[in-house]
Symmetry: C2
Subunit: 323 residues, 2 copies
Amino acid sequence: MTPETTRLLERMLEGESLSLSRVISLVENESSQVPEIMKRIAPRLGKAHCIGVTGPSGAGKSTLVDRLTILMRRQRLKVGIIAVDPTSPFTGGAVLGDRIRMQQHYLDSGVFIRSMATRGSMGGLPQTAGAVIKLLDAAGNDVILVETVGVGQGEVDIMEKTDTVLVTLCPESGDAIQTMKAGLLEIADIFVVNKADHPGADSFVRDIQAMLHLREPSWWDIPVVVTEAINDVGIEELHEQIQLHRQALCETHQLSQRRQLQRKSDFMKTIEQKLTHRLIKAIEQDGHLSSYVERVEKGELDPYSAADEILRSGKLLADWLRR
Amino acid sequence: MTPETTRLLERMLEGESLSLSRVISLVENESSQVPEIMKRIAPRLGKAHCIGVTGPSGAGKSTLVDRLTILMRRQRLKVGIIAVDPTSPFTGGAVLGDRIRMQQHYLDSGVFIRSMATRGSMGGLPQTAGAVIKLLDAAGNDVILVETVGVGQGEVDIMEKTDTVLVTLCPESGDAIQTMKAGLLEIADIFVVNKADHPGADSFVRDIQAMLHLREPSWWDIPVVVTEAINDVGIEELHEQIQLHRQALCETHQLSQRRQLQRKSDFMKTIEQKLTHRLIKAIEQDGHLSSYVERVEKGELDPYSAADEILRSGKLLADWLRR
């Protein structure tokens, strides 16, 4: 790690926003210093309560995050916000219109806001977002709000890195079957039916409750909270439910178990990534290995036989993995 | 490979449907014989034209697949259909209502239909679907139609394994921005606006065309085909565009390049998977390695330092990778 990054990290751990931003950029750009950074912040992790907010576009997620932030700031909690934005494949820019209403918080030093674009990080997004959550945790935030549009597997994976998942819907979100198809029911800890003043809200809430009754009994009964975020209705009840979930997570030792699993998974993923990295490097540099790739590309050797042959020669494998 | 599987494969390659079904099940259940199966069929690949059909639920994908199948059967083409169905997280069953209208084809020996459920195969689904496409190809199908609901990254990844992607929308699919957000524009080779008799169809088509004009010029101009699948309107024009795309793929050598990349990626993925598999086995069996996992789980050692330590001991690594 460069001395500059060391100083950056120190200032970040003291709660300095600009340094936090710059460390996040290092992580997003896959700097070679990332493992060292993650190693340094590891002892500082686990204090923040991380809340995921997902659901289809138009459900009012940003307004909800805004109102929750106002409420938490009244309690003098430090709030970090990560907004995962889909980017347009044609213009390359993020679809950031919704963020505009968050701008009042940009002036508040107790709120840190970061947008992450999905473009160009298809597979890696959940892991990058997971690392950014850790940075916000280490930087001393009490609450971290992670907002994603719940369409992709990547976004679902991000939600798995949070402690409490709010699935936000509105009466216009489409019928219950469609929600089910999108895989959102599976990840919800709390359902929020926002825009409750819109027509059809009552029957929509009943449909969700009916579906929830099909679940097996569990340590946590998923509540359905009805809100009108834009009118500040239901936000306190939602906040209460979030705290009840956090409490239940602690009392049932779910939280410590989840963190254990997370650490094990980080460990395995890191080894896998490093092995794969060495593999790619070896194939680029080693004539013997790259001749295999060539024959596979040309169709002279099928991919599976080629993989077998390489893995059978344990000596060769050991040689290039050691590099 | 067991003698039974060898016979099964032989019958499958002769075009026997029941054997094909049983080999697909082996692949879905991740039988240890899969690499050997893929190796055996490798020389038989590359004949079929694989067409992906994706888009939001309710756009009429199944009807479209049904009508395309009827048209292709009139030309005496052998058709394989893979329907990737999201499953309900609560009931565990697939949401198969749409499939009912496909049932006429179940009596036609020139059509092979297979449903694949997304449940329990989150990460692995695209690769399993990729393998099933190959099986259908090797079994002598002229055309393979792959239908998915375009919501998840997994489904998008499946589309990357097809030659021609139809993104199917209808005037009710929501506005253009939402389509863009779902990442569907990025993968389309042909846009199909189905239910063209519904209100708002004309302006919907214009919106898509306007967005397409923002694209960089390319070897292929994405056409927007207007259909009413249920009334058999526009299906022939759609089929024509599919053939034009296939032709363009061949003439620009895109097809052979894509197949080359596919083979290389299969090769790398196979090595990665096998390395990871060995890693997991080693951690279970090797006391020294599993002590690392324990310390990581307890939080005594951070995941990144642990990974570093394991990878630094090249000797150890080589030892267990050779097993």
